[in-house]
Symmetry: C2
Subunit: 453 residues, 2 copies
Amino acid sequence: MKQVIDTLRANRDQALNEVIDLVRIPSISPGLPHPEAITEAANWLERRLKNAGMDEVRQLVSGEYNPVVWGRKHISDDLQTVLFYGHYDVMPPDPLDEWTSAPFEPEVRDGKIYGRGTADDKGQALMHINAVETYLKVKGTLPVNVLFVIEGEEEQGSEGLEELLDSHRDLFAADVAVISDSPFFSSDCPSVCYGLRGIAAAEIRVEGPSTDLHSGNYGGAIANPIEFLARILNDLKDRDGRIEIEGFYDDVLELSPDERKGFAKLPFDDTAFCRDLGAPAPYGEENYSTLERIWARPSLEVNGVTGGFGGEGTKTIVPSSATAKISMRLVPNQNPDHILELLESHIRNIAPPEVRVSVTLGHGGQPFLAPIDDPFVRSAYAAMEQAFEGHVHYIRDGASIPIVASLASKLGATCLLLGIDVPEGRIHGPNEMLIVDNYHRGTEMIAHLLELL
Amino acid sequence: MKQVIDTLRANRDQALNEVIDLVRIPSISPGLPHPEAITEAANWLERRLKNAGMDEVRQLVSGEYNPVVWGRKHISDDLQTVLFYGHYDVMPPDPLDEWTSAPFEPEVRDGKIYGRGTADDKGQALMHINAVETYLKVKGTLPVNVLFVIEGEEEQGSEGLEELLDSHRDLFAADVAVISDSPFFSSDCPSVCYGLRGIAAAEIRVEGPSTDLHSGNYGGAIANPIEFLARILNDLKDRDGRIEIEGFYDDVLELSPDERKGFAKLPFDDTAFCRDLGAPAPYGEENYSTLERIWARPSLEVNGVTGGFGGEGTKTIVPSSATAKISMRLVPNQNPDHILELLESHIRNIAPPEVRVSVTLGHGGQPFLAPIDDPFVRSAYAAMEQAFEGHVHYIRDGASIPIVASLASKLGATCLLLGIDVPEGRIHGPNEMLIVDNYHRGTEMIAHLLELL
């Protein structure tokens, strides 16, 4: 193993140049302004995977979607298969005038490489390739079968890959999926992310009179849809933010004492959190810390509300209707469809007879969890610990990454979120950057992981 | 008196022709599309008041506002002065294609005269003039001093007249003001309106984080301004619609048993009321009927609410802010300024510390009441009873007519709302009409009133 690591270290300059080469290709996906750049990036990766020693490399295309670059090295049917996921598409670089160096002319300054896609996700995808290639070249074989899946549409919803996962499931069969597309907890806190929240969205509409009414002629004698909507929203949560939908928490997997202890050790300060957000005070479900509330507790948020007159000045009406858009973040083992059913029946139960209340159910997404006592998760932890020579943290994330949930549910693979970018890396913003040392250590982490799995 | 009435009856055709002449002038005020028609209508009325025997007739102009046609017949310093209020401006006639006959070519069909301004308010203004003129011609004098105030800006807020009431109060000094610009309770229920609600408006704004936040990364750990606004709105009223602002009802003048008995006799049906509005059920403060709620109980309505994402689809955010516009309808003896203070301090008391809550106080307008046992009101009732030969009802109106409150408060005059248009007269809509018989009887009513005051 020492030889693998030594070789990786000897070839660091070349590995960094590869990031520069790939980032130079402006493979923006949202809006598709450079379709030829998408093709160029996919071709670049196809060649790169071939050079890395894959048995078989293909570009898989579903419909009009950007190609998925797919590569396989099959060692033995007796070995487990590791799928390495990444994406070569990037976000548009606007606003251009805020970049210090041009977004598609990568530049290294102060140990950081700047450019659109350095962190999200070209650098992290190359980290996988270089580790596997070097391991294979040094040792002549691999301790696992590997699959590379590098898609071109992550920034606009991964729909092409989702279709391929359904239509060509055999090409993606894997025991473990390694996804490096997420940040450390903080730049000095290497972390393994083992859980994500799911989602369930809905819209509540309250209708009263068939048109807006003059509040002088009707005010006080007819139910006001905005006020009745406000009641319904109030009846969804108690004053501490605990959700009052019957059965809502029934399936929630509680945090273990170890998990809570681990979260509590992370450098996190409520005061700084609120100051950064410009919010007056923290708020949320009693007896849980802010990180626990975001990572491991379900939430319900009203995302938008509209009703009546919203212009300048005054218009004294009793409005005809009011609407609220809500979305819930779900945690393991909640099921989005079941939660939406509970929401709908809760609202049906509390709907007052003086108005008409309707609920439109929206999309749902599964939560994700790879428990920290899972052997694969333990291996990932150990690999990161070896590569980064410091204390590694177990973290979760409050957001949803639909492709992770899909890889887990469609393939039955254990997903390992081993991202090495940092919160200040400004992915999607100007001056996106990747810490060069993280990139090199991340490559070693993948090599260790191959050994440990 | 019989001779006055006989003369009025003999001249009915001529009186109707005057309505036709005046309605032909398209003196639209909102948007001022015909400034020359405003001048023409004002000049027409100036001539008409001179012919009616006024001592002095003037066009009063404040700033850029349309002229107020003012006329006076002073009989004696020992007599009371009656101010007759009306307006010669009209609403635009759109949608034009829904009119059976052209809006400015008045036509009599089935005992109704159709045209923009027939009911609102040219016909009713002419009713005053014809009654006073005939009384004066037949009897050679008047039992009261009279003042005519016919403005040209009622449809856009009466601001010119309001300014003149302040700057030239001596020209408007009166003991009683007769305002004929409102409908009967229904076409077969002649009615004297003796009370109007006032108004007080405000905007409540709740601010949380300084920008919209991703609900995955923050949902459940930060106060959501929409939800906190919903709480505040909930804390303004109980579930029956009773307002929970401390001290809100302290000054409310309760209805007398006679008033309640009178309202209960009016032909009003909750089921039909809801059906017409398209609302599922009646709603409002317990122990009050719908008419009582609208006419004599204060109300608080949310007129509009905005916050977060209002577009198509889903945007999973914790919004940065949310705003509600509210307005309250006030009843005698509530004071708008005091009520706005109570609202502000109530909201300050219930504002949760996790968000920033601000209240912007808006405009206020006084409620109006001329008690039914007031001698002037009794005279108005008797005059209407004589002219319409049927049971006359005392009614109130839930809306605010700012000029009525101003005439009452600025001049200290008792205001009599003696309108004779009908709810189906479609003022402001296409095919506006005035019932010809109501016009003629209304003229007789004014003559009786002169005698009775």
